[in-house]
């Protein structure tokens, strides 16, 4: 048994690249962006005595005459096509309410899920009554954003075999701004586990399923015990994700993999110690710079 107690230390921010090109225009609420009245104000700004002022903390984006401030830490603002990992909070008539770290709960309509066996038919009253047999409160799902309602709530769908109810694994909740937008968010990492990087900041780690793919599209969740080696890989990945998030690094399959490789020299539970986190993130940043150049 181990107890790790220490005095707190001030965290130093560390970054390898200090070039002027990387200097982003960061503002905090109240900072004056410009006194020029020729600009249109976008999201995150307001006009205070003819001066354009920021109302959120983030970076300034300018598109021709439009100035807006994109906040660094914000709730998830979904766009059509985003992959999200969410948790069912309510079962209502003909739809489920899903929590996706956005301002409003997202909606998953009964007509937007696949029926078992892949049937294509009109949903009947019986389907409505057996909704809870498929998805209950507390279940995790992976889904795609189909559309955005006028109030900003997202409408999700799981009409593909790769989406659906998630089985055994670990959920890591991070900030949505740390997830890089990529072509695909489902990765089978070579270290032995699979990862779903949801755009809403929820990352799902699970053991790579065997050769036989689930035919039912998520209806059957296997409750077989996961092997110890797979568990170690998943725990290590989880700690690496938290280390990268603590140092505000962008998360995508390559950065997570490099971080995993850099952490192999330490024990799984030691990865969460502050000095080990710093070391691992430094190594990851170096590897990523080498990879790019």
């Amino acid at each position: 048994m181990a107890v790790d107690m220490r005095l707190p230390t001030v965290k130093n921010s560390m970054s390898l690249s200090h070039s002027a090109a990387d200097r982003k225009d960061l503002v905090v609420p109240g900072d004056v962006i410009t006194s020029d009245t020729g600009f249109m104000r976008g999201h995150g700004t307001y006009v205070d005595e003819d001066k354009l002022t920021a109302s959120v903390a983030g970076e300034v984006q300018r598109v021709d005459k439009l100035i807006c401030v994109r906040p660094l830490k914000t709730r998830f603002n979904g766009e059509v096509g985003d992959v999200v990992v969410g948790r069912i909070t309510e079962v209502q008539q003909k739809r489920w309410k899903v929590e996706t770290n956005s301002r409003l709960d997202s909606v998953l309509l009964l007509s937007s899920v696949n029926l078992p066996g892949g049937e294509l038919r009109r949903r009947s009253a019986e389907d409505e009554l057996t909704m809870r047999e498929y998805l209950q409160e507390g279940d995790l799902i992976s889904a795609e954003v189909q559309s955005v309602f006028s109030d900003g709530a997202l409408s999700l769908h799981t009409r593909s075999l790769k989406y659906g109810k998630l089985g055994q694994g670990v959920l890591v909740q991070l900030s949505p701004s740390l997830i890089k937008r990529q072509k695909t968010h489902f990765h089978n990492l070579p270290c032995g586990a699979s990862i779903i990087l949801g755009n809403n900041g929820f990352v799902w780690l699970y053991p790579t399923p065997g050769q036989q793919e689930e035919e039912a599209g998520g209806f059957y969740t296997s409750l077989e015990p996961v092997s110890l080696s797979d568990r170690e890989v998943i725990s290590r990945l989880r700690n690496c994700l938290l280390a990268l998030a603590a140092h505000k690094m962008l998360l995508y399959d390559t950065s997570v993999l490099y971080c995993y490789e850099s952490s192999l020299q330490h024990q799984v539970k030691d990865v969460l110690k502050p000095e080990v986190m710093e070391e691992i993130v430094m190594l990851t940043q170096q590897k990523l710079l080498e990879h790019e150049s």
């Binding site: 995790l140 055994q168 670990v170």
Partner: protein, 291 residues
């Protein structure tokens, strides 16, 4: 306590992991998360400490005031506990939501310290039957990520170590009444001996095994927990069972043995850290709340 929702498959995953002694974050069943302890963070108290255990953050402030001793025990001072669950910790604590948890925590603290040996209460007596020191221990929960009892007990021990009680001189005035004078020198103070102050260990029963320092997800998978307070010699001062589920006597004995072992091992690193912090003196870089 703040709760998180966990799906059935996640519960099964956690259960099987604990059965194999590998929890979700790689810890063993008896390992604590990373803990940070800092004392003397609140300037207008006589002693204070802030403890961060994973994401749980607890702030303890101790104020010493002169009061009348309890009628049954006229030659001792006493401690008063108050736990405030701030709404900063979780939205469930908004308004009066945190009151129930707060009273439960303070009642447990009263039980833990309700013995002759944890703290030398006789040293808090000024004049028997008339004046004594009353230590008001105020606990503030800043962030809640599971395992509140352990963090609170470590913080209380650190704050008691840090407490400086001014020395008093008693003189009798003309009418024969007693006059109490506090010494003017801010460094002329009395420190408390915290060797025997117990630390609380919470053991959660998950499946057939028990874990120490459970996170909120693990707590959602357990139905019963045992809370025991252990001194540095391994003596138990208080034990309580919480939770809706039942524990059979065999597992209670097992959990008590494990708790004694874990609790005994908590004290040496804590005392070492407190002494190391004290020896740094003015050179210590105070982190406080802006770390």
């Amino acid at each position: 306590m703040a709760t998180v929702q966990v799906s059935e498959a996640e519960k099964v995953y956690i259960l099987h992991g604990i059965r194999d002694d590998l929890r979700v974050d790689g810890r063993g069943c008896e390992d604590y998360r990373h803990m940070e302890v800092e004392t003397d963070v609140v300037s207008n108290t006589d002693g204070s400490a802030k403890v961060t255990l994973g994401h749980t953050a607890v702030l303890v402030g101790i104020k010493a005031e002169i009061g009348k001793p309890r009628p049954m025990i006229a030659n001792q001072g006493y401690l008063e506990f108050f736990v405030d669950c701030s709404a900063n910790a979780t939205p469930e604590f908004e308004g009066r939501g945190g009151e129930e948890l707060g009273t439960e925590l303070s009642n447990t603290l009263y039980k833990v310290f309700n013995n002759q040996h944890s703290l030398d209460l006789k040293s808090l007596c000024i004049s028997p039957g008339e004046h004594c020191w009353v230590l008001y221990v105020d606990v503030l929960l800043l962030q809640c990520d599971g395992n509140l009892y352990d963090a609170i007990s470590v913080a209380i021990k650190a704050a008691l170590f840090n407490t400086k009680i001014p020395k008093v001189h008693i003189s009798s005035d003309e009418e024969g009444g007693k006059e109490i004078e506090l010494s003017d020198d801010p460094y002329d103070c009395m420190r408390l001996d915290v060797e025997n102050v117990p630390c609380i260990v919470t053991l959660c029963k998950i499946g057939h095994r028990h874990v120490v320092d459970a996170t909120l997800q693990e707590k959602a998978c357990s139905v019963a927990s045992l809370i025991i307070s252990v001194t540095h010699k391994g003596i138990i001062t208080c034990s309580r069972k919480v939770g809706r589920g039942s524990l059979d006597p065999e597992s209670i004995c097992e959990m008590i043995e494990a708790g004694k072992r874990v609790g005994k091992a908590l004290h040496p690193p804590l005392m070492k850290l407190l002494q190391q912090e004290e020896s740094l003196g003015n050179k210590r870089q105070k982190v406080g709340f802006l770390g």
